[in-house]
Symmetry: C4
C-alpha cells in the first residue's frame, strides 16, 4: 500500500467531496441511476418471460440480478459522484453533512436529483428497447396501506445503513452492503422495496414485471420521504457524532 494512503479520504463515500467537476458527477449519477433501472426493469422482463409459472422464482431472479448489479454500479461510479443514484440519499447526505465544510453542498441537490430522474427514465427506455417491449405507462397499481408501510421501512433501513457505514468510516463496504440490503428488502417488505423516488419514476415507463402505475408513484414517494426522515432520526440516535471517533475501526467488514 502506498504512502499517501494516510492522507486520502474515501472518495466513494456519499459524503466525499472529491473535487470532481460537477458535470462529471452528474454524468455518473445519470449513468448509474439509469443502469440501475435497466437492471431492475430488464431482469424483471427476462424473469417474467423465462419463468412464467412461478412469481416467486421471477422475484428471486430479479432480486439476485439487482443485488449483483447495484453493488457493481456503486463500485463503478462511487469515486466520481458518491454513487447516490437516489434523491433521498442525496438529500440525507446534504442534511447529515451540512455542518461539515467538506459536506455535500445544498446547491448540488437539484442537479443531482435532475440527473437521477433523467437517468432513471432513460434506463427504463433502454430496458424496453433491449427486450423489444414498447414503452407505455405501467398499469401495475401498487399503492396500498401495507405496501406504503413497506416503503417506509425499506427507506428508513437504507438511509440508516448507508450513514452508519459512512459515520464509522466503512465506506469501502457500501457497495456490497447496499446491494445486499436491497436484495433482502425485495423479500422482507411487501412493496418489494423501491426505496428510491427516481427509480419509482423510471419504473412508471415500463408496463412489465417491475413497473409501477403512475397513480401509485406519489404515495410511494411520500412514504419514501417519511422513511428517510425516520432513517435520519435513527442515524442521529445511534451514530450522533459525524466525525470518526477513536472507537471506529478501520477494518473492513464485508457483505
Amino acid at each position: 500500500m502506498r504512502r499517501q494512503d494516510e492522507l486520502v479520504t474515501n472518495s466513494d463515500a456519499p459524503t466525499a467531496t472529491a473535487p470532481q467537476p460537477l458535470g462529471r458527477r452528474l454524468l455518473a449519477e445519470l449513468l448509474g441511476t439509469g443502469l440501475l433501472v435497466t437492471v431492475v426493469v430488464g431482469s424483471g422482463i427476462a424473469a417474467a418471460d423465462l419463468s412464467p409459472r412461478d412469481t416467486g422464482l421471477q422475484l428471486l431472479e430479479n432480486s439476485t440480478a439487482t443485488v449483483l448489479g447495484l453493488a457493481v454500479l456503486i463500485l463503478m461510479l462511487g469515486p466520481v459522484s458518491g454513487a447516490h443514484f437516489n434523491p433521498v440519499v442525496t438529500v440525507a447526505d446534504w442534511f447529515l453533512s451540512r455542518r461539515d465544510l467538506e459536506g455535500f453542498s445544498a446547491r448540488h441537490i437539484v442537479p443531482y436529483v435532475a440527473a437521477q430522474s433523467a437517468g432513471a427514465v432513460a434506463g427504463a427506455l433502454l430496458a424496453n428497447a433491449m427486450f423489444d417491449v414498447g414503452t407505455t405507462f405501467s398499469e401495475h397499481e401498487r399503492a396500498s396501506g401495507s405496501h406504503l408501510l413497506g416503503e417506509v421501512v425499506a427507506t428508513a433501513g437504507l438511509v440508516l445503513l448507508i450513514f452508519a457505514l459512512v459515520r464509522t468510516d466503512r465506506t469501502a463496504v457500501v457497495a456490497p452492503a447496499v446491494g445486499a440490503y436491497i436484495g433482502a428488502a425485495y423479500w422482507f417488505t411487501s412493496s418489494t422495496s423501491f426505496a428510491n423516488p427516481a427509480v419509482a419514476l423510471g419504473r412508471m415507463f415500463s408496463d412489465t414485471f417491475a413497473g409501477i402505475a403512475p397513480t401509485s408513484v406519489p404515495s410511494f414517494v411520500l412514504a419514501q420521504i417519511v422513511g428517510a426522515a425516520i432513517g435520519i432520526v435513527l442515524v442521529l440516535a445511534l451514530y450522533p457524532s459525524q466525525a470518526v471517533t477513536p472507537h471506529t475501526h478501520q477494518g473492513e467488514p464485508h457483505a
Copy 2:
C-alpha cells in the same frame, strides 16, 4: 489508512467495549433483533405467497433473504452494541470475556436479553402488518427429536464461529460469516436453524411460513442452550487463548 488505527479496537466485535451509552446499545439490540425477525418472517410470508408449489423454493427465497439481511444488520448496528441480536451470544460473550476488564459486563445481560426479546416480538408484528396478516400464535409444531438435535448443532456452530473470529481478531468478517452460516444452516439442519431464543420467541407471533408454535419454543430454547454450551467448550478447546496471539493474522478472510 489513518495513524490512529494502531490504537483502536474493533468496535463491532461481540467483545468490544466501546463506551457507548447503554441506552443506545439497547436501542441497537432492539432494532437489530426486531429487523432480523422482520426479515425472516416477512420473507417467509412473501416466499410462501409467491412460490406456492415448491416448499424448497420457498426456503431458498427465505434463506437467501436472511443471508443478505442478517449480514447487513450486523454491519449496520455492530459498532453500537456488538450486534448480538441473540441471548445465547450475549451470555457466551460474557462468559468467554469474563476475566477481561473490558469484557462484556454481567449486569448488561438482562437488559440486552430484554431488548432482544421485545425487539423480536415487535419485528414479527411489523412483518405481519406489512403483509396484512393478522397476528395470531403460530400453529406450526416443530419440536421433534431430530429437530432438537438440529438446534443443538446449529447453535454450537454459531457460537464456535463467532468466537473463533473474535479470538483471532477477524471481527471485520463477522457480518458476512454469520449471514453465510445461518444461510447454510437453514439447509443442513433439519430444524432450519433458529439458533436464537429471542428469534424463536418472536416467530411464535406469526402463523405463517417461518412461525413456530408456542408449545415448541421451550424445547427449542433448551436445545439452543445445550448447543451454546457445546460451542463454548469447542471455543475453549480450539482457541484457548483469549488474547490475540502472535499466530493470529490480521489479514481479512471474507465470506
Copy 3:
C-alpha cells in the same frame, strides 16, 4: 503485512506489468478463457438437463455458476497474466495504458488473443466431453437487433467497470466485481451478455443451452467492439487520469 508492501504494484490488474515470461502468461490466458467457457457451457448443459421445465431456472443455475466461477478464475490466474480472458479487454488495456511505459505492450495483443481463442474452443470441447455431448456447431441463432443492443450495453459496462477499478487502484476487487457484473448482465441484457469475442467463438462449438450459431457470431463480435469503444469513451470521460490521484482511496470495496 510485510514491509515490501509499500513497494509493490497490484499484479492482478489488467495493466499490471509483472515481468512474468510471456509463455507463462499465455498459458494463463489459455487456461482461464478455456475454463471460463467450460463453466458457462458445462453449467448450461447441467442446468438444461436437470431443470427441463423452466428456462428461467436454467438461466439462474447457469448465471450463478458463472458468477462464482469467473470470480475464482480471475483470482486463480490474475497475478500471472492479468486475467483478461477477453480480446476486447486486452485491446482496451493496451489502448488505455499505451502512454504508460509499464502499460500492456501492443506486441502482446495477438498472442493474447490467440491464446484466448484457442482456450475458448478447448474449453467448449472439455465441457462436451465431461457431459458426454458430441461436438457439433450450435444451431442457436441469437442475432437480432435487440440482442445486439444487449451486447453493446453489456460490453460497454464491462469495460467501464474494469478500468474504473484499475484507474482508482481497486484492482483487488476486480475478481468479485467482474463475476457479479456478468451475473447481473445475464439477466438485464436480452442477449444474456456474452461481452467477449473469444467466449462467443468457443460457444459455437457446443449445440447446447449456452451455444451460439456460427452465423450469429460475427454480428455479436461487432456489437462487442462497438460496446468496448463506448466503454473506453466512458472511462476517459469519468476517469480521465490514468495515474492514481490523491482522491483515490485504497480501501477495498467488495462485491
Copy 4:
C-alpha cells in the same frame, strides 16, 4: 492494525506452520471435514425432500448451502489446522512446501488423513440423524468415464486455486474462493465435483441425494489423485516460486 502484523504469518493458509499442538489441529480437521459432509449430505436431504419435482432446483439448493457452509468452515477452523478438510490438499501442501523448513511435515500426513476420514463418516451419520434417515450404504452409482473426467478437472482446479492463493500471499481469500469454486464446480463438472477422497468416503454412508455407492468410490479417488497431480504441475508451471515475490501484491481480492 497492530504493530506485530509485520511479524506474523497467515495462520489460515494451508502452508501455515502455526505451532498449534497436533491434537488441536486434528480436532479441527475432524470437526471441519465432518461438518462439511454434514452440510453436503444434510442440505442434499432437505433439498430432495422439499423440492421433489426438479432435480436442478435440488442441486441449486445443495450447492448454495455448500458455497456458504464451506467458506464458513474454513474461516472457523483455518487458524488452527489450515482447514485442509481434504487428503489431496494435505498431500499437495506437504509436496509443495517440502523444501520449506516451516512447511507441512510429512509425518503429519497420516494423522491428518485419518482425522479427515473419521470426521467425514461421522458427519454423514450426523446428517442422517438430524433428518431421521437410517444409515445405509448409498446405492447411487456415479462412476462413468465422463464423471471421472469431471473429478479430474474439479480436483486439478481446486489444487491450482488453493496454491495460487497461497503462493501469492492471498490466503485471506481462501475461504470465500474455495467455497465459490466448489459451488461453480457442482455445476460445470458432470460429477458435481466431489474433489475430495475423505468426503467421497463419508458420502458412502447416506443413501440420499448426495450419496455415492461404495463401488464408485475407488475410481473417484483415483481420478482425484490424477487431478491433484495435474493441479500440482500447473501450480509449478504458473507459480514456480514458493516464496512471496516482489510482484505479489498483498491487496485482498475477494470472492
